[in-house]
């Protein structure tokens, strides 16, 4: 069975620090002192996939991406 590993990636050249990702996905995204996202290391558990997708889709700069890979 394929085991999927999903992480969230920020393109820092697009991000303007709106902070919406933190509001929608606080479980994995915190913000630094300047308002830019800090993504927790490690794979996102499947129970949080919906939150992750929501954060990715709502980013006004389209700066977030889900990175999926199988191991």
């Amino acid at each position: 069975m394929t085991d999927w590993h999903v992480t969230i990636v920020v393109d820092p050249t697009r991000c303007d620090g709106h902070g919406i990702c933190h509001e929608l996905f606080p479980e994995r995204v915190s913000i630094d002192r300047w308002g830019y996202p800090v993504v927790a290391e490690g794979d996102i558990p499947p129970a949080l996939f919906d939150h992750a997708r929501h954060a990715v889709n709502e980013c006004p700069r389209l700066a977030l991406h889900l990175l999926e890979r199988s191991r």
Binding site: D11, P12, T13, R14, C15, D16, G17, D32, W34, Y36
Partner: protein, 450 residues
């Protein structure tokens, strides 16, 4: 009788590999003339180079163990194979931008031994199937390179068209994806996010692009003549050949030296323990590099693996010695203020993080005693952690490495500044080399240029 036999034996041993023995190699013959080596002199020293139709070049370079001398230490043959055979003819860029203010080796090669670099560029082009090569260099060397190219055109020796392009005077000008951006018509150099794979696929003019440092190409020019065994006849088994080092902080400066890899670093830069007592530390690799104590420096062997074991990097070969009479806190603050202006201004962690570091270090160096903020050094390290690994490129990581290592090597000085103890003797700033213009101020809003 015995002596003659020994001498003959030595001579035979040196004759077993063709080409001039020992070191220097790249700097051979440069001491005598303070001007560019003309093509005729170059050919008299090194002999002709035939690269056309040479299918063995990539294998020779691979067998030589040559790695990149621009700072990344990446195997050259691996890079060549990544751009060759992609279906489109690649472009070769000889990278002489040398945005690092403390480095002077690339400018020395281009202004004094341009033909060695051009030989390497031609060889790299043949090996990768490129029909076009570009020498990307600061304005200071462009005329010399153009004159050398004119000589070669008259002699009809280059199998590919080689042209000159001017690199902007900026720290990031030599970063691979920034090089491609500038050559594709982008004004300010700005690295791309995760771009390494893409320039090997789509770079200058949309073609697969090989960006190779000019010192690396100068080594290629000699490997193409004398072969891998000759290249490996100097240096260590796992770090063959020689490298150029730029030494600053002592007269005459900057001085560029060439030394066999694997030799003691102190011998390479002619530093005795007695000399070392005049310095309070050394910066290895450049302004994205690492401060080390003089004891560490004296014990290092000249190889990237040895430097990494000491949590440092040789980078592009900068050894900046910091004399005892200079305030290290003021020097570090000065460089960080410069590095802040040299970011591409394209991501938040870099723009805000480097501004914060420059402010904190400036206050420590020149401000009133920070009695109310005993945690100032810890706060500086916290900002380092906030920028590391979060930038669009490695610029903020380099600054963080520079600052962290300074906090460790100069801990006593930082603590004295925190307590308001005046520097003894009076602080002298301006030892670490910076461009005369002090760095252009860049648009600071992330996303201002996209």
């Amino acid at each position: 009788m015995t002596r003659t036999a020994t001498r003959r034996g030595e001579r035979d041993a040196s004759r077993s590999v063709p080409g001039p023995p020992g070191a220097p190699r790249l700097l051979l013959g440069l001491e005598s003339a303070a001007r560019p080596i003309a093509l005729s002199e170059h050919l008299a020293t090194w002999g002709p180079l035939h690269v056309n139709g040479r299918r063995d070049l990539c294998d020779q370079v691979e067998a030589s163990g040559l790695v990149g001398h621009g700072g990344a230490w990446f195997p050259v043959a691996t890079k060549w194979r990544a751009v060759a055979g992609r279906g489109r003819r690649p472009v070769v860029v000889a990278n002489g931008a040398e945005g690092e203010p403390a480095s002077a080796k690339d400018a020395l090669l281009l202004s004094r031994a341009p033909h060695l670099v051009l030989d390497g560029a031609a060889a790299a082009a043949v090996a990768t199937g490129a029909k076009r090569a570009v020498v990307y260099t600061g304005a200071h060397s462009a005329a010399t390179v153009q004159t050398a190219l004119d000589e070669r055109r008259w002699a009809g020796i280059d199998p590919v068209a080689i042209e000159v392009a001017i690199a902007p005077d900026a720290f990031l000008a030599g970063q691979e994806s920034a090089v491609v951006g500038v050559l594709n018509g982008r004004g300010d150099p700005a690295p791309s996010f995760s771009a390494v794979q893409s320039i090997r696929d789509r770079g200058v003019g949309g073609r697969p692009t090989l960006v190779q440092n000019v010192e690396t190409l100068a080594h290629v020019g000699l490997i193409a003549r004398f072969g891998a065994a000759w290249f490996r006849s100097v240096g260590g088994a796992d770090c063959p050949g020689t490298m150029l080092l730029t030494v600053t902080g002592r007269w005459p400066e900057p001085s560029v030296v060439e030394a066999p890899l694997g030799s003691p670093l102190r011998d390479a830069i002619h530093l005795t323990p007695a000399d070392a007592a005049h310095y309070q530390g050394a910066l290895l690799g450049g302004y994205g590099g690492t401060w080390v104590t003089m004891d560490t420096l004296l014990g290092l062997s000249l190889s990237e693996s040895a430097a990494r074991r000491a949590h440092a990097t040789l980078g592009a070969g900068v050894v900046a010695l910091l004399p005892r009479h200079v305030c290290p806190v003021a020097e570090v603050a000065r460089v960080v203020a410069y590095m802040r202006t040299q970011g591409a201004g394209q991501c938040g962690p870099c723009v805000h993080g480097l501004a914060a570091l420059a402010g904190q270090l400036g206050a420590l160096a020149h401000g009133a005693p920070l009695r109310g903020r005993p945690r100032q050094v810890e706060e500086i390290l916290e900002v380092c952690a906030l920028v590391e690994g979060r930038g669009a490129c490695r610029h903020p990581d380099g600054v963080a490495r520079f600052v962290r290592s300074a906090c460790s090597v100069f801990a006593a000085d930082l603590s004295a500044h925190l307590r308001g103890v005046p520097c003894t003797p009076s602080p002298v700033a301006g030892t670490l080399p910076l461009p005369a213009h002090g760095g252009r101020r860049r648009a600071s809003a992330p996303g201002a240029r996209r």
